[in-house]
Amino acid sequence: MGVLDYILAGVAAAFFGDPALALGPLVISWPILLVALGFFTGILIGATPGLSGPFAMALALPILISVFGFTPDALLPVLGFLVGVMKGATIGGAVPAILFNTPGTPDAFMTTLDGYPMAKKGQGGKALRVAHFASVSGDTFSDIVLFVCAPFLAISIEAFLGLPEKAALMILSLSFVAVVVGTDTYKGLLAACFGLMVASIATGTDTYPRLSMGSDMLAAGLPTIAVVIGILVVGEIFVSFEDMWRNAREKRVLQTIQDPGDSTLSMAERRKLLPFIGTSMCIGTIVGALPGIGTTLAAALGYAAGRKMHKESPPFGEGAPEGIAATEAANSAVSGANLIPALSLGIPGNVAAVFIILAADTIGGFNPGPSVFRFTADEVNPELVIAFALFTLMVVANLLNWTTGAWFMRLLGGLIRIPKQTLLPIVLLLTMTSVYVQNSNMSDVYVLLVFGAFGYGMRSTGIPVLPFVIAYILARPFETTVRNAFEASGSDPWFLFGGVISPILLALAVAIVLGAGWLRGESEKS
């Protein structure tokens, strides 16, 4: 099969692979249906203060796997839903940021700076349109970069890197994530190695499940989804509970601002925004391609760059549409680019990528990494077909975003009223239930709660949780690669230091750890 055949096979798998319903002559497949469902759910969740995309992914993943099972047919609908949520939540976060001065997601904080002043002037509708236009532009650009770069990067890695170099690359990625996420290198390393340690339990090649302490529950292996959701979601819920408990009643009445003013966005106004969007989406894409660096930094950098470019009135911070555009284009451009390391290297760069890899790993049949992009001519590489089907689903989500996103965002403006202290306890019960139903085993709920407690403790003591999760997910491929590299080298103890590339990657890893203070200082300044 040629490249074009693979692309067409991917498009066909997404559109016609698994028919769900027929509307006359129009047949809608499960993957397309789930992308749409995920997209609207994502906007709703992103627009709800206190919730974010990872919450929806965490709740949905066990349910989707229970519904669709572990068959190859399940992969595209599940991935489609996750992609839809990822994109929906990114634009949804702007709704409460603009209308209520409450960012729905952390990266939407910068959007409040100009969005809320615009809403106070009666231009909430226009601000939402600006946010949507910038967000969807940034997202689309980032996806195009992903479609081009991920296969190219994967092919290069497969061609030029052997097993020791791949192992060294994973060490470099882990070091980078440990150092860059959070504010403390040692705590980042602690979190990453704790993730490796937890991943070691009941795995390995020996018949005895290592580190299981004779416990049947541990010997069966820790349920990956419960561990990840516990750390990421339950820990965050408990931190929010405590903050609400301490701040005594977060029952602030959300102010609805009447919007009698102009809510349209003309072509001339859109053209005026383009330089800001263009700059920010490039910044967001570059930031997103680096594992572990989140949307918040991208938004801050995009806003700072936009402020330097902006000379007109009103200035940034006082209701400038350019401020919203600069922020939203940057944080939305992160989401697609974040999948570059995930799909080409198998290294998850952010929480959304963690869930996509987790879904692929749990269902099977698709192992994100360099081997996905093998363009075999004589036989079909099914993983490559799935990769192109995933790209197709991302395009579908973008088309939905362009056509219906703005309308749905404005619609939600009137709906998001539920206070956080009412919503989060319900989300906790939902999370527990969705983790339980996958295996019908209460021990999964206990694991969820125990790792929720770890997540709470880590957040409270300044230990970042993302390095833990990424190391936990990467541990198995990392160990396998190191083992294979060692055996392939003829048991050479210096196997990681042979050649040129591997020592350079390892030296970079050491340099990143040692130069963390400088790196962080630079990013704080910027």
Binding site: V67, K187, R210, W245, R249, L429, M442, V445, E487
Partner: protein, 186 residues
């Protein structure tokens, strides 16, 4: 350096160091058969102990650095403040809710059938299958609403009940093969 930050960092340093040392000196030798390097049929290969040993060594190094840095009053940022009252209250809510979730179903079935029928027979039969989840779930949701909002309101209790019923129906009605917690464990 912030006082609680210093205390937290000393605790992390101590806890991490002890955990790493126990792992390296007791847990790994006692609970992994193959060692860091393993010889199998004359092949030298990486053993199962390699990854946890590597992780524990870095945990030890990082923990010592965090602890020493705290003792030297070198800051690592201001932590969130943690409240024991909140922690104990949350733990009590979770434990009590899960206990009720576990016991309510068997208790109601036992009372209704005078102890002659096991709960296992009713794990997929309404209304018995809902009792544990709805009672335990409602308690958990309501108690956390009350804890977070510093208030006890009938409206919250009603909302917790309705939300729990909706969650139960959401999972139970469309999917025949899914069990609500804790019915799959019986």
């Amino acid at each position: 350096m912030h006082r609680s930050a210093k205390l937290f960092d000393i605790v992390i340093g101590l806890f991490g160091s002890v955990f790493a040392l126990v792992t390296l000196l007791i847990w790994i030798p006692a609970d992994i058969d193959t060692g860091v390097i393993d010889v199998w049929r004359r092949n030298v290969r990486i053993g199962d102990a390699m990854l946890p040993t590597f992780a524990a060594l870095i945990i030890l190094g990082a923990s010592v650095m965090i602890g020493v840095r705290a003792l030297l009053n070198r800051a690592s940022g201001t932590p969130r403040s943690m409240s024991w009252v909140f922690l104990i209250s949350s733990l009590a809510i979770v434990v009590l809710s899960l206990f009720i979730m576990w016991k309510a179903g068997p208790l109601f079935v036992g009372l209704w059938f005078s102890g002659e029928e096991p709960y296992r027979k009713f794990i997929d039969t309404a209304p018995w299958k809902y009792t544990g989840f709805i009672l335990g779930g409602t308690l958990m949701v309501f108690a956390f609403m009350a804890l977070a909002g510093h208030r006890l309101k009938w409206r919250d209790a009603a909302m917790a009940f309705i939300a729990t019923v909706i969650i139960a129906l959401l999972y139970d009605l469309p999917f025949d093969n899914l069990f609500l917690p804790p019915n799959g464990d019986f």
